[in-house]
């Protein structure tokens, strides 16, 4: 058995970092000392064995269940490239270890593994699927940008890992966001727990916590308090306001539709006219809605739902709304869909999807709906609607001859869970209907 210094010298030689002096020393020992000579040969042979075994495992990985380590692209928008080939990625393409994904400024890609683990690659990001620490472990190397991940529980010996420029993240089963810049790597955990390692320091990061790794080391904190934009009052409650009891009514609110798996509600003003409408939607395939809406009532008013009918005089007004939301990463990733509904049980009138335009989690987004009543030359009513998202025009629709009443906005999540942190809605205008 060789001593520590000899082992270190041999190891440095094999790792190609030995200095000329160290090289000369080792050369002399190899020539003159059979024990050192054998030790070097043994360690080099051991390296060769390890290399062979790992290479064989890599081949085996290619042969094991593809769904385990390979993912299928389920969504693409904008420019999304398989970097290795420079080819654009399309829905249905399979990504395997060794594949690099790059998204352009308007690019977004989502892929899913066979076990339901889903990875979203946000705009201006680059990542590589790599081999994990064990045969069945998923692993991703994030070169730059932001990823959102919903990781299903993995086998105990096959933790999924995310290798970032400033740390290594080991996951069991959780929803998280990973963001990396030239200076920092951030891990934001929405549910579950992950372990983050940076320079030998390790931290368990739990739901609602944010870990930041950089040259200064690793730090962990609660997510920062969100401050709404000027002129907006935030009503943060974090409670589930609309659960099954919503269907039975809450004081001050009126339920105006109940269709499919969702519940919808409308807040009415003192006269019983629709003042603000904000609605939960999905049940996410479960028996109960998963919506967790935050408050949106003007300060000092009650929140609730009533079964009071909407008075007919309310038809004489059109309403414009603006709402501002701060979305969890997944929401920002998946976007939202805005439906404008006109009356009870009406189909969506105008909708827009803002997947690529959403600002990163941590920033506020603004949706603005404006509607203007007009009359055409024959005196028939026209309703002109515009949708804006973060100040950008999204969609317009003019409805001729429509005499129904406006009930408000429906905020609807297209897929996945309803993950708002905060939603703020304010009424912009209440315009008397022309000719009324």
């Amino acid at each position: 058995m060789t001593d520590h210094y000899t082992d270190r010298l041999i190891s440095r030689y094999l790792d190609a970092v030995a200095s000329p002096e160290e090289m000369a020393q080792l050369d002399e020992w190899v020539r003159n000392d059979p024990a050192v000579c054998r030790a070097l040969l043994q360690m080099a042979t051991q390296d060769a064995m390890v290399q062979t075994i790992i290479a064989e495992e890599a081949v085996a990985r290619e042969l094991v269940t593809p769904g385990l380590l390979a993912g299928t692209v389920v969504t693409t928008q904008g420019i999304t490239l398989r970097q290795n080939s420079g080819m654009r990625l399309q829905v249905g393409d399979v990504l395997r270890p060794g594949d690099c994904v790059e998204t352009g400024a308007d690019g977004y890609l989502k892929y899913a593994y066979g076990d339901g683990t889903v990875i979203g690659v946000r705009p201006n990001s680059e990542c590589e699927l790599i081999h994990g620490t064990t045969l069945f472990a998923k692993a991703i190397r994030i070169v730059k940008g932001m990823l959102d991940a919903t990781v299903r529980p993995q086998p105990a010996d096959a933790h999924m890992t995310f290798s970032m420029p400033h740390g290594l993240v080991t996951v069991m089963g959780t929803i998280l966001r990973l963001n990396t810049t030239s200076d920092l790597s951030e891990v934001n955990v929405h549910s579950g727990k992950v372990e983050v390692e940076n320079g030998g320091q390790r931290e368990l990061v739990a739901a609602g916590e944010l870990a930041v790794a950089g040259k200064e080391g690793l730090s962990k904190a609660k997510e920062p308090e969100l401050v709404p934009p000027d002129g907006i009052t935030a009503y943060e409650d974090g409670k589930t306001l609309l659960d099954d009891s919503f269907e039975h009514g809450l004081a001050g609110w009126i339920q105006y539709t109940k269709q499919g798996e969702g519940n919808r509600a409308l807040k009415v003003d003192a006269a019983g006219c629709p003042a603000i409408c904000l609605i939960e939607t999905l049940r996410d395939g479960q028996s109960k809605p998963v919506a967790s809406l935050t408050g949106m009532e003007p300060e000092g008013t009650r929140v609730g739902i009533s079964t009071k009918p909407i008075p007919t005089e309310c038809q004489d007004f059109s309403l414009s709304y603006e709402y501002t939301y701060h979305g969890r990463p997944r929401l920002a990733m998946e976007g939202i869909n805005i439906d404008i509904n006109w009356e009870r049980n009406s189909p969506p009138f105008l909708n827009g999807t803002f997947k690529q335009k959403a600002r990163p989690a941590g920033e506020w987004n603004q949706v603005r709906w404006e509607c203007i009543w007009k009359t055409d030359q024959q005196g028939n009513p026209i309703l002109d609607s515009h949708l804006y998202f973060n100040g950008e025009f999204i969609a317009r629709r003019s409805e001729h001859g429509y005499t129904g009443k406006i009930l408000g906005l429906v905020l609807e999540v297209i897929e996945g869970q309803f993950l708002f942190d905060k939603v703020v809605i304010r009424e912009l205008s209440r315009v008397p209907r022309q000719g009324s």
């Binding site: 270190r8 190891s11 970092v17 000579c37 290479a55 420029p165 290594l168």
Partner: protein, 177 residues
Amino acid sequence: MNANQDHETFERLFLPMQTTLRGYLFAATRNWTETDDLFQDVAMVLWRKFGEFDRARSFHAWAMGIARLQVLKRRQTFARDRLVFSEEAIAALALVTGDEHEREDVRLVHMPACLGKLPPHERAVVSLRFEQRQSLAEIGAQLQKSAEAVGMLLMRIRRQLRDCVERAMVPGKVGVQ
């Protein structure tokens, strides 16, 4: 002896020494690409010259002699851009392979289990170094460690693996403890 018999005999003699041969080539070159290329060259030369091999002699010694000559031949190329062992050291290494090569196959049997015992972060370093063939500096940049620290960690891993295999090879013991 016909060609088929020759081939079978060659395989019977060559296969058991493959691990040692790769180890020797890596010890002499410390470069995986050179090792892979040289391994192919040596195997080809051995097969071509197998007809000249005196069956009364040790195949291992004969093969290592050829391997040493191939290393020296190639050494002239790679000596230009990196530090290399002297001819005497390369010869000394070839000589000691004869002492070890039978044990290497036994070591190989135990190595996967010993690799499996490494904690995840060490296994990740092994993967970066031996599978992705990254330099210590590249690994260090990924893990926020200095190249020196990665080198120390790799040395500890090598020692752990060596000790683990040695323990598993103790007569009377079964498997990796």
